[in-house]
Symmetry: C2
Subunit: 315 residues, 2 copies
């Protein structure tokens, strides 16, 4: 029996990028819950973290569209959109996981916790925001938004202008003790949704900031704080590979910290895709002897935890 | 020291109905938190429930406006809007309450729990939905929505057509054990936001339904489940009155269950305003000997709990 933080990727929440409706998301969450409850059934203590990229993007676009049509509808600030996504996705996941547990006669409770994650206001990410969010605008509209709202906006590969926000490192989880209390009481907890609502600490006060915290890094953070045994990062592939998509692609069963650094150096992992996952996995594996990170697909999570597949990153 | 469920009304979240922005709501939540933390400082175990009427109304109107401008933006279903409002309001309240506690050196934790509340699918409310939500439509648009989406829509006093949803009785709180675990560990919990996300139970499975559960009744339900000592219903006035707004208005310090029934019969309490609060208070006072309900204003909550003001409803 291990304490496990499972980081769910976007495709575990929205299987079909063409159908971004809540109805479709709920169906996908039911599928996802089967793999999650497999781990609970195997006796593990499971904490679930999840992304929110498509959902928050949709919220932002919805508010921008509604505000353009009717100025009386105020645009929702970015941190609040993150909190809303935790309610939205948390509701779907907790309903689906509970149903799957009840079908298997597992008598545990599950709940989503609205979770704030502290970032450093001096994080270099704030000086050069790079994460695009929301709709495309014309240059004229973009200049107006930058002047009126203080947004940072960038031209996006000829497709128009988009708002960009920072992607700072997670430092602390404000609701850490709440999560710990529930985990230690044997409950299943959904937390740091979308990487957490990003807040900075100013004179001991928390303040929401427009930023996107990488959900794998936030998962790594909460995994350390909860003294988890394993961090399971779920993605589209069963194993990490070197020479990915080349004739000599080689899938990795075990990846030592030293090898991981070497492969990163050699450019084997795509930035914005496998690279941040490997980095989060590495960070966890290095944080304390005995801790290991597993990168695998949702479908293979159960087998991977039994050591049968996936890539295990350990010291 | 008592265990107290505090039901916050809409004006504790949005003080100025003309400024419905998130920024204004956060300022109001900081003010509200002072009164809440007074109770925590006095040694009480506090569980917070809150309404979400204006917020969910705004979400629905935002989606309707965005969808009208761009059909590619799917309309968010009603239960999901409720879950989003729990994330949105919960984030503001937990941030503000935490800050107020830290300023007073109170070392407790606080978190909002995404909370589902079970209603009976045969509740008479579903046969005759009466609670209006969202924007006004023309008769033609309304007929299209009724045909396409199965909405119930009603003409609203010459102002146009609006969607109406049911207002069923709360039966059970799905996350009851989660809330209990946190309360017993000494944490401050925000739950049943907006009366809870309404779900029905079908063959053991939960399913979200378009409905609004009265937040005072949901607060009463969770107060019973948590075996609370007191249910504090906050409203715009300091005390319940008979002959309200008449020359012979009489404010009530104590209200027995028998008197409450008599005054209800005599029509002293306005439906949709004081009446549902008196009914929720009565239900709690009658549920077990020793339990009492207090109806007062946010500003007077601390004094009311000391027996100095407010209206106390007890057996």
């Amino acid at each position: 029996m291990a304490r496990i933080v499972v980081a769910l990727g976007g495709n575990a929440l929205q299987a079909n990028p063409k159908d971004t409706s809540a109805e479709a998301q709920l169906v996908t969450c039911h599928e996802t819950s089967k793999a999650i409850v497999d781990l609970i059934e195997d006796g593990h203590e499971v904490i679930i973290a999840h992304g929110n990229g498509p959902q928050v993007g949709q919220f932002v676009a919805t508010y921008e569209t509604a505000n353009a049509a009717n100025e009386g509808i105020p645009v929702m600030p970015f941190p609040e959109c993150g909190a809303m996504s935790q309610g939205y996705i948390g509701y779907h996941l907790q309903q689906a996981i509970r149903e799957e547990m009840r079908e298997r006669k597992i008598n545990k409770e599950v709940a989503a916790i609205v979770t704030q994650v502290v970032v450093d206001e001096n994080d270099p990410g704030f000086k050069n925001p790079t994460k695009p969010v929301g709709s495309f605008f014309t240059e004229e509209q973009a200049k107006k938004l930058m002047a009126e709202k203080g947004y940072t906006m960038k031209e996006d590969a000829g497709r128009g202008w988009r708002r960009v926000v920072a992607s700072p490192m997670p430092k602390a989880v404000v609701e850490e003790v709440i999560v710990k209390t529930l985990v230690e009481a044997g409950h299943v907890v959904i937390t740091v949704g979308g990487g957490g609502v990003p807040v900075i600490e100013k004179n001991g006060k928390l303040e929401g900031v427009p930023a996107v915290i990488d959900k794998d890094l936030a998962s790594e953070r909460i995994a350390e704080l909860l003294n988890a045994d394993e961090l399971v990062i779920l993605t589209a592939v069963e194993q990490i590979a070197i020479n990915f998509n080349k004739p000599d692609q080689k899938n990795l069963k075990d990846l030592s910290v030293a090898e991981a650094y070497k492969y990163i150096e050699e450019g084997h992992f795509a930035p914005g895709s496998m690279l941040p996952k490997v980095k989060a996995a590495l960070m966890f594996a290095e944080s304390k002897p005995g801790r290991k990170a597993i990168v695998t697909s949702l479908e293979r999570a159960r087998e991977a935890l039994k050591g049968l597949t996936g890539t295990i990153i350990a010291q």
